[in-house]
Amino acid sequence: MTGWHAPDHFVTRYADGSLPESDAWSLEKHLECCGTCAARVSRAVRGAAAGVVLAEVREAVLGNAREAVPGAPHAAKAAPRAPAAARKAHRARPWAPGSRPARILWAAGPAVRGAWLPAVLLVAVGAVALAHAGGLPDARPWLLALAPVLPVAGVALSYGPHADPLHEIAAATPSAGLRLVLTRTAAVLAVSLPLLTLAGALLPSSDAPGAAAWLLPGLALTLASLALAGHVGVRTATAVTGGGWLCAVLGPVLAAPGGRLTAHLSERLSSFLDGAPAQGGWAAAAVLCAAVLATRRPAHHFLEMR
């Protein structure tokens, strides 16, 4: 702050666009740090030809703002102006396009709509079918090894320009970023947790860990992917966590001598999943990732730019 303020003839000539370039440059630099002169110039511009445009944009921006309050529970879309009558009509019919349930369904969209849902179904049904009809009695360890990766893959497919054809539009809404990622992750978990656990329970039990043992690791890996996504992007983050799990579980098994793959895998999984210390560790990891996610929220605002 120098105490210098723009002379009046600068302000009026800048507002009507006739101020020479070099003076305009210094005025522009000054406006960036002086609210008083900014208000003076803005007032002058409103009084000039641009006044109409400014009033129209103002209404569009504020209409949008009133409709979607950031952080408020009902923020879900950013259509600049929806007439009040139309909004009332939507409230009457819960599944009409633009109504709240329909918007939530839309927000959950890509994860449960794309190739991922058939893939999860295939794994679950395939595991059960193989175990009962295909003469592969020890399918549960394999399901348990794959299960934690499936929700992570669902997250990767749910957000970003590579996964969502509507991404450009979605990214411009007030609920884009972390909010939308969390909504879609919830959709992914709601589908995959019951389905895979049920499939695991239907499989004949061997000495592998219980059918629900993968739940905490799955949750921890999903939250870790989200926490990482704020820094390296959704795709890289899910590749790191999902790939990391597969390497840790399958790597030593495939490298182990002897042909008893399933037995090796069973042992390996037991060390990862069985017992209170292991499950407690996964729970702690999930809580830690959730805490990182909560404290690093701003990093997710620009998720769509990575």
Partner: protein
Amino acid sequence: MGGHRETDEGDSDAALLRAVAGGDSAAMAALYDRHAGWLHARLTRRCADPEVVREVLQDTFVTVWRSADSHRGEDAGGWLWTIAARRLVDAWRVQQRTARLRTAPMEEAGDDCRPAAPSAEDRVLAGLEYGDVGTALDRISPELREVLRATVVDGLTTRETAWLLGIPEGTVKSRAMRARAELRAALAQVSPSPMGGPA
């Protein structure tokens, strides 16, 4: 909507932005009234297409509404301009992409968005009335000046400048170098006593 509320000079920009981050639409209105005018004027100087200017202005304030909580206490005006400048570059890239798909007579429409060069009259006025730097700036060619404006005044990167002006990055670099050299020479002519060259 009634008339514009007079800007309340008492609220600092930082306080307004905090209120906006909390979802206060009255603070948003005050912020808009204080800053939209000069942003519009500044965008208009850089882009002659009023539709693009309008779109960029609206995008800018929608972005502000959405991410006011990422404002970290820097000057609000500078922060707003950074958003607006990036939006302008984006809008210009989109327009170039569509212009490439159009046929020959439509190509002129794309040229609309050139930064407006000052009229000859303005240049004479500047030479007569204002200081040495202004005179020196007005002696360098418009192509060099628009590169200086984008990089020095608007704070765009070399790549963004290249997108905005529709020239290759290498050209931006060489023009920026030439602009500096010519400015130094022009300054030496205007005032025989050597002054510090522009950074």
